[in-house]
């Protein structure tokens, strides 16, 4: 079954066309890398896949739900099953680690529930977060301020937020943009490892073709808003991906 399905989607911002006639299916548990130059439409596509904006034309469905037919509570309910890891991680710097992680479940809480989560998190949630952070190797930081953590540790906090959310799909926007080359592999190992472990569908946008090829069974190449490559690149095809 398709976790994400995109049918002839185009997205325009004024006169600028960010995506043109994109069509693709991503199966449950699949790990996909989006490759393309800056401005090729990767972030726009990720936002559409995360149901955060509606396309100018075409249709998108996530986890069997059509975006066009989902509104209000229904839409929020679907979103609560999709995790998002933005380029700058989207953490509140002056929150404690646990407070950032607990926000992963905002979709299944109301306003008062969120306030309670932040001020007096439930015992069951605290235990669950402790276990998640243990897997991430940062339990000792659970009650520390997030901005006191290193960049790598903060990335783990953002991932812990997705795990606590119980996301079935994880969309990561350029997670290697602020990571040195030596740590890039660790980040991708962590992401793909968690995806395999949890059976979580993973879509990651990247600039590094070699890493995409090494870690992902499927690579989608975007150029000027169009899909120009889709599959596992062979040695001959790799050079064309470098030109994107």
């Amino acid at each position: 079954m398709s976790a994400l399905s995109v049918r002839d989607v185009s997205q325009k911002f004024g006169a600028t066309s960010a995506l043109s006639d994109v069509a693709l299916d991503i199966s449950e548990g699949e790990q996909v890398a989006l490759i393309g130059a800056s401005g090729s439409g990767k972030t726009t596509l990720l936002r559409l896949l995360g149901l955060q904006s509606r396309p100018s034309s075409g249709s998108i469905s996530a986890l069997g739900h059509d975006l066009a037919e989902s509104k209000g509570k229904d839409l929020r309910q679907i979103r609560s099953r999709i995790g998002m890891l933005p380029q700058d991680l989207g953490l509140v710097p002056n929150h404690r680690v646990i407070q950032n992680v607990v926000l992963g479940r905002s979709g299944s809480r109301n306003l008062l529930g969120t306030v309670r989560d932040l001020l007096w998190p439930r015992k069951a949630d605290r235990d669950e977060i402790f276990q998640i952070l243990e897997r991430m190797g940062i339990t000792a930081k659970m009650y520390d301020r997030t901005d006191s953590l290193s960049g790598g540790q903060q990335q783990r906090v953002a991932l812990a937020r997705t795990l606590f959310q119980g996301a079935e799909i994880l969309l990561a926007d350029e997670p290697l943009s602020a990571v040195d080359p030596a740590r890039a592999r660790d980040v991708l190992e962590l992401l793909t490892g968690l995806s395999s472990e949890q059976g979580m569908t993973l879509v990651v946008s990247l600039h590094q073709v070699a890493l995409a090829r090494e870690f992902f069974p499927r690579v989608i190449g975007l150029k000027e808003g169009r899909v120009v490559f889709d599959g596992k690149p062979t040695d001959d095809e790799v050079s064309s991906l470098y030109d994107l």
Binding site: G90, V92, N94
Partner: protein, 592 residues
């Protein structure tokens, strides 16, 4: 770019010339026979020999001791400021929400949004453009002589300012975390409350403390229209020539303001930095939670502030003077009649709404001539004088601050300016301390108080008021500009010093041009505030809007007061719009 900068300097010089031409060059104007130097000398002697007892020899033996009286005045000053600020903060947050474009959920009807937003924005602009002294004149007349009037007079303009600043602070926060919360299914309100609000909190708290500090100054100034605050003590002691008492009160006020300023700095620093564990424990969740880093200073000060606010509301003179409901309504009705322009005012001072409506329809045609008459004489002239005073003051403050900043900036006034070893370090370090101290002291005293003292010493002319405005603003601009210079990257200015340039050359050749945009932004910020202050400084007897307000106050002609007040408010709103425009063009970070 240089073309623009040169024009800026030429334009400011030309504006200053115009102001001097308008206001004249009679810097000191004393009546014949007076000896201004002697009284000036006596006044400044008081600075080195402040009084610790009453200077009035004719006080009865059982009169309240000087320090006890001063302490009472100070407590009332703090109380009014505290009540006003604690009312203005929630009101500012709520109204700031309605006034801001960013806070509104994107999917709400645009018509409804504009329908609510614009009336709120206009009301907020009006609230903050009218000076607290004028609000106090209105409220004291409408509600009577009660602390409530004083607190409301402070709270109203503060609400306007806080709403504006709060919405800006919130809008400046990074929205990425909020996007994550909405991306995982949270609502906009959840996103706001769980991410944007906590991120903005250190700035909101810090600015609220700064507002409280402003509240202390404004509360003191209310003393000059008879409200029992420290300003009243200063006023009485100065008029009786007890300069030692004046200086003691001034020192007490400055110390209190500095204490709050220090507290604000400390709070902001602790909230921004947070606390970290020295040793990272490998422990259970419970142990980690129990040993989590907590800032007891912040926690205990939050509790202390809450307790002090409750005390301010409950202890001391009752906030509202006991009055029968009928009496209160009668008083309000009389005030409303006096506030209504003459041609449309009802005949009886206590009238019903239908009588007011009748008077309105009968006299409506007389309103325009009534307005024109006041505009022609003296509105136009008073408005021009007020504008000229504010412009002259801010230009003078800007020039002095620009000259002092290199001597106050820690990055320049030391042995290794910008990392380059130079001579004269020890002397300059001392000078830097003196300059920064000058900035602190000048901004700690309200403009109105400076003006009151300077008019007493220099005689009645516009210049004491201009100098008073300039003095207060040089302290604020000096501090803000020094911070801008200190926060600049060192690489470029250092290259000037490395090739043999002096500190002054480093400042004029690199640091000042690099900082110019921010200098201009803060300059406009303060000019906006100068316009507002210049409107009321005339109450000290100089021909500006405040002068005519003060004259009409004597005759209780509140309709005339309203006319001059709205004239001033219009100018402040225009200044506000101009300042906003410049700020948008140049993108600003912080505010004062």
């Amino acid at each position: 770019m240089w073309f623009g900068r040169r024009w800026l300097v030429v334009a400011l010089g030309f504006l200053l010339f115009l102001c001097v031409a308008r206001l004249g060059t009679d810097f000191v104007s004393h009546t014949a026979g007076s000896d201004p130097w002697a009284s000036t000398f006596r006044f400044f002697s008081g600075a080195v020999s402040p009084s610790f007892t009453d200077q009035n020899p004719s006080l009865p033996a059982d009169a309240e001791p000087f320090f006890s009286r001063l302490g009472g005045d100070l407590l009332r000053t703090v109380r009014y400021a505290l009540i006003a600020t604690s009312l203005a903060i929630p009101a500012g947050l709520i109204l700031g929400f309605f006034a801001s474009e960013q806070w509104w959920p994107a999917n709400r009807s645009r018509v409804l949004f504009q329908f609510i937003r614009w009336p709120v924005r206009i009301s907020l602009a009006l609230m903050r453009s009218i000076h607290e002294l004028i609000w106090a004149i209105f409220f004291l007349s409408a509600f009577g002589d009660a602390p409530f009037s004083a607190c409301l007079a402070l709270a109203l303009p503060f609400t306007g300012t806080l709403a504006k600043v709060f919405s800006e602070l919130i809008d400046e926060q990074n929205r990425s975390a909020k996007l994550v919360v909405t991306a995982v299914g949270g609502s906009g309100a959840q996103g706001f409350l769980s991410t944007i609000f906590p991120m903005a909190l250190p700035d909101l708290v810090s600015y609220s403390l700064y507002r409280f500090e402003c509240g202390l100054r404004s509360s003191a100034v209310l003393g000059f229209i008879g409200v029992e605050t420290i300003g009243l003590s200063i006023n009485r002691s100065f008029e009786n020539g007890y300069y030692g008492e004046v200086w003691t009160a001034l020192y007490v006020l400055i110390a209190t303001v500095l204490l709050i300023e220090g507290l604000g700095h400390l709070t902001r620093k602790r909230m921004t930095q947070g606390r970290t564990r020295e040793i990272t424990p490998q422990a259970s969740e419970e142990q980690l939670r129990k040993t989590a880093p907590r800032d007891w200073f912040l926690r205990s000060s939050a509790v202390a502030w809450a307790a002090v606010i409750v005390m301010a509301f409950t202890l001391g003179k009752p906030l509202v003077t006991p009055m029968l409901e009928g009496q209160r309504l009668e008083r309000l009705s009389r005030f409303l009649t006096k506030l209504t322009p003459d041609p449309i005012a009802p005949e009886k001072s206590v009238s019903t709404w239908s009588e007011r409506g009748e008077a309105w329809s009968e006299g409506a045609s007389g309103v325009l001539p009534w307005l024109a008459e006041r505009w022609e004489n003296p509105g136009k002239e008073a408005l021009t004088n007020t504008l000229a005073m504010s412009v002259a003051a801010i230009i003078l403050a800007g020039l002095l601050a620009f000259a002092l900043v290199p001597w106050g900036a820690r990055s320049l006034a030391n042995q290794n300016p910008l990392g380059v070893a130079m001579s004269g370090g020890r002397f300059l370090k001392g000078l830097g301390f003196v300059v920064r101290g000058f900035f602190v002291l000048t901004r700690a005293v309200p403009e109105y108080l400076y003006a009151f003292l300077l008019v007493g010493l220099m005689g009645p002319s516009a210049w004491p008021l201009i100098i008073a405005l300039a003095l207060h603003n040089v302290g604020i601009l000096g501090r803000l500009w020094t911070e801008v210079v200190e926060n600049q990257g060192e690489k470029i200015p250092r290259s000037v010093l490395q090739v043999g340039g002096s500190r002054g050359q480093g400042y004029l050749g690199a640091l000042a041009p690099m900082s110019l945009n921010r200098f201009v932004l803060f300059f406009f910020y303060r000019w906006e505030s100068c316009v507002r202050e210049a409107t009321v400084l005339g109450m000290l007897g100089i021909s500006s809007l405040g002068y005519y307000i003060s004259i009409q106050q004597n005759f209780r002609e509140y309709d005339d007061i309203l006319f001059y007040t709205l004239l001033g408010a219009m100018m402040v709103i225009l200044g506000d719009l101009l300042s906003d425009l410049v700020r948008r063009k140049m993108r600003v970070g912080r505010r004062e």
